[in-house]
C-alpha cells in the first residue's frame, strides 16, 4: 500500500476528486439498477407492472434519471483520466521539482514508472467500478433484450480501455507541454477528439451487413446501424420521394389491409448485436496497443526532455 499512499500524497486533490466522482456515479447507477430490477420482481403476478411487457420497460418511469446518470458517467470517464494524468509530469516540470527528482532518481524511466503506475492502478480500480455499474445500469434499462451496442464506449470494458487511453495521452500531454493549466485545457480537447475518433472507427472493426428483421432495432435488438435504404417491392432501389408516393398509392387503392409485400421494404445495414464481443475484442486490442505506444512515447519524452 506504500505506492497508493505515495500517489495520494502527491496528488491528493486529483485522487480525491476522482474517488468522489467515480464512486458517487457508481453508487447512483447501482441504486437505479436495483430500483428497476425490483419493479420486475412483480412480473407474473396479478396486476404486474407495464415494464414487464414492453421493450422500453422504464421509459416512462426512469428515463430522465438514467440518462442523467449515464451522461455523468460519459463525462467522468474522460474527465477523471485527464485530472489524474495531466498533473503527474506537468506539475513536476512546471514547479521545477523535476530538476531535483530526475537527477536523484538514477533512472528516469524507473521514476516515471513509480509515478505513473500507482495512479494508473487507482484509475483502473475507480473507473472499473464505474464501468461495472454503468454496464449493470444499461442492462437493467433494457431488461428483456441483449443490449448489444447500446451505450457502447461508456460502459464495461470499452469504457475502461478508452479511459486508460485518455489517461496515457494525458500523461504524455503533461510531459510535452510542461504547464498544468494549458495541458488540462488541451486534454479536454483531446478527450473530445478520442471520443469522436473512437465512435467514427466503430463501424469499421468488422464488416457491415444487411440486418435481418430480428437483428434490426424493430426486432428489439440493439445493433450498430450503419445505413438504411428503401427497397421497391420488386427488390430494386427506390428513392425517398417515390417511397411516399408508392405508399400513398397503395393505401388509397387497398386501404389499411394492403398486402405489405406491395409496400416499399425498409432495409437496415449494420453490425448485429450478436457480433458485439468480436467488435469489443478488436477495439480493445487496438486501444490497448495505442495506450502502450503512447506510454512508450512518454518514456521517450521523459528521457530526452530537459527538466527545467
Amino acid at each position: 500500500m506504500t505506492w497508493a499512499r505515495l500517489a495520494f500524497k502527491l496528488q491528493p486533490s486529483s485522487i480525491g476528486f476522482a474517488t468522489f466522482v467515480c464512486l458517487g456515479l457508481a453508487a447512483a447507477a447501482i441504486w437505479l439498477t436495483f430500483d428497476m430490477r425490483s419493479v420486475l420482481k412483480a412480473c407474473g403476478t396479478p396486476g404486474e407492472p407495464k415494464a414487464c411487457n414492453v421493450i422500453f420497460a422504464f421509459q416512462d418511469t426512469h428515463m430522465q434519471t438514467v440518462m442523467m446518470t449515464q451522461l455523468g458517467i460519459g463525462i467522468a470517464m474522460y474527465g477523471v483520466p485527464i485530472v489524474l494524468g495531466v498533473p503527474i509530469l506537468a506539475r513536476e516540470i512546471e514547479q521545477k521539482t523535476a530538476m531535483i527528482a530526475w537527477p536523484l532518481a538514477g533512472s528516469r524511466l524507473k521514476w516515471l514508472a513509480w509515478r505513473v503506475v500507482p495512479v494508473l492502478a487507482v484509475a483502473l480500480v475507480l473507473i472499473g467500478v464505474m464501468a461495472f455499474a454503468a454496464e449493470q445500469l444499461a442492462q437493467a434499462y433494457f431488461p428483456h433484450n441483449d443490449i448489444g451496442f447500446d451505450r457502447h464506449g461508456s460502459r464495461g470494458i470499452s469504457m475502461v480501455t478508452r479511459s486508460v487511453l485518455v489517461l496515457m495521452a494525458a500523461v504524455l500531454l503533461g510531459a510535452v507541454i510542461g504547464r498544468l493549466l494549458p495541458a488540462l485545457l488541451i486534454g479536454i480537447a483531446l478527450a473530445a477528439g478520442v471520443s469522436t475518433g473512437m465512435d467514427a472507427a466503430l463501424p469499421h472493426w468488422v464488416e457491415s451487413a444487411e440486418l435481418t428483421q430480428s437483428d434490426s432495432m424493430f426486432g428489439g435488438a440493439n445493433p450498430l446501424n450503419t445505413g438504411f435504404e428503401y427497397r421497391a417491392p420488386d427488390g430494386g432501389p427506390i428513392s425517398d420521394e417515390n417511397v411516399e408516393a408508392l405508399q400513398q398509392a397503395v393505401y388509397e387503392e387497398h386501404g389499411d389491409a394492403a398486402d405489405p409485400a406491395l409496400l416499399p421494404q425498409e432495409v437496415f445495414y449494420g453490425i448485429a448485436a450478436s457480433r458485439y464481443p468480436e467488435v469489443l475484442l478488436r477495439e480493445s486490442a487496438a486501444v490497448g496497443a495505442a495506450s502502450v505506444l503512447i506510454g512508450a512515447f512518454t518514456a521517450f519524452v521523459v528521457r530526452r526532455r530537459r527538466p527545467e
Binding site: F17, E94, L181, P182, L184, L185, Q248
Partner: protein, 279 residues
C-alpha cells in the same frame, strides 16, 4: 498599457494562445459552415456547443491561473509585497486577459449569430451562444474562477470547482430566463423560419392556417395509416420560436447578471487576498 499586456503575455502565454487560437478556429468554422453543402449538419452543432462551453472552460482556466497559480508557485509573496495594493495588482493582472477575451468572444459571438441565422439550427440554448452574451460568459467565468482560486489556493482543485460553479451559474441563469422566453414565443410556419433571426427554438407543432393567415394548433385526426398520411399532408409544420427582438432584453439581463457576478467576485477575491495573505 502595453507593458501590462506584455506582462500578461509572458505570464500566461499558453493560456492566452489557447484562448485566441480556439476562438479563431471556432470563428472560422462558424463563418465557413453556412456555405458548406447542407448547412454543415453536425459540425454546426459542435461549433455552437463549443461557443457555449468554451468561454466557461477558458475563463475558468485563465481565472484560476491569476491567483491560485501565483500562491501555489510561491510567487505571490514577492508579487503582493511589491504591489502598491492587492486590488491594483489584481486589476493589472486581470484586465489584459479580460480585454483579449472579450475581444475574441465578441467576434466569435457575431460569427455564431451569423451561423444560426443562415442555417437555422434548433436549440433552446441558442440565445446563450450568440452575440455579446458569449463575451459576458467569459467575463463572469474569469471572475468566479479567480475567486475560487483565491479561496482554494491550489490549481487543480480550484479549476475543478470553478468549472462546476460556472456551469451551475450558466444553467441557473438559462433556467431563470426560460419562463420569460416561453411568454414571448410565437408560432411560425417552418418555411418562414429563416426570414427573421430567431434566438431560441422551443417546440415543433402541426398547425392549420385559416384564410386570415392565423395559425391554430391542430393534431392530425385519423384512425388508419392512409387517413393519417392524408391528414398530415393537409397540415402545416410550425415551430414555436423566440423572435430576435427578444435578444436585447436578454442581453440586458445577461449584462446585469454578469456585472453583479464580476463585481461581487472581484470584491470577494480582494477581500480574501487581503485577509489571508499570500502564505
Amino acid at each position: 498599457m502595453l507593458p501590462q499586456l506584455r506582462l500578461a503575455w509572458r505570464m500566461q502565454r499558453w493560456e492566452m494562445s489557447l484562448l485566441v487560437g480556439a476562438a479563431l478556429v471556432l470563428t472560422v468554422a462558424a463563418l465557413i459552415l453556412p456555405s458548406t453543402e447542407g448547412g454543415g449538419g453536425d459540425p454546426r452543432m459542435i461549433v455552437l456547443f463549443l461557443t457555449l462551453v468554451g468561454p466557461i472552460l477558458i475563463g475558468s482556466v485563465l481565472g484560476v491561473g491569476l491567483v491560485a497559480a501565483e500562491v501555489e508557485h510561491g510567487t505571490a509573496q514577492v508579487a503582493w509585497s511589491l504591489a502598491r495594493s492587492r486590488l491594483r495588482w489584481l486589476f493589472i493582472r486581470a484586465w489584459p486577459l479580460s480585454a483579449v477575451g472579450v475581444l475574441v468572444c465578441l467576434v466569435l459571438g457575431a460569427a455564431a449569430a451569423r451561423l444560426m441565422d443562415e442555417t437555422s439550427p434548433s436549440n433552446i440554448f441558442m440565445a446563450a451562444m450568440r452575440g455579446p452574451i458569449v463575451a459576458l460568459h467569459l467575463l463572469s467565468a474569469l471572475a468566479v474562477a479567480t475567486l475560487v482560486g483565491a479561496v482554494l489556493r491550489r490549481v487543480v482543485p480550484a479549476l475543478l470547482v470553478a468549472i462546476a460553479v460556472n456551469a451551475g451559474i450558466l444553467i441557473l441563469l438559462s433556467s431563470a430566463v426560460q419562463p420569460w422566453m416561453e411568454e414571448r414565443a410565437t408560432l411560425i410556419p417552418v418555411e418562414e423560419r429563416s426570414v427573421d433571426p430567431v434566438i431560441a427554438v422551443l417546440e415543433y407543432e402541426t398547425v392549420s392556417i385559416s384564410s386570415t393567415g392565423e395559425l391554430t394548433l391542430t393534431e392530425p385526426e385519423c384512425d388508419t395509416q392512409a387517413s393519417c398520411m392524408a391528414a398530415m399532408a393537409e397540415l402545416t409544420h410550425a415551430v414555436r420560436v423566440v423572435p430576435g427582438s427578444a435578444y436585447l432584453p436578454l442581453l440586458g439581463f445577461a449584462a446585469a447578471a454578469s456585472l453583479i457576478i464580476v463585481v461581487a467576485a472581484s470584491a470577494a477575491t480582494v477581500g480574501v487576498m487581503t485577509r489571508f495573505g499570500p502564505g
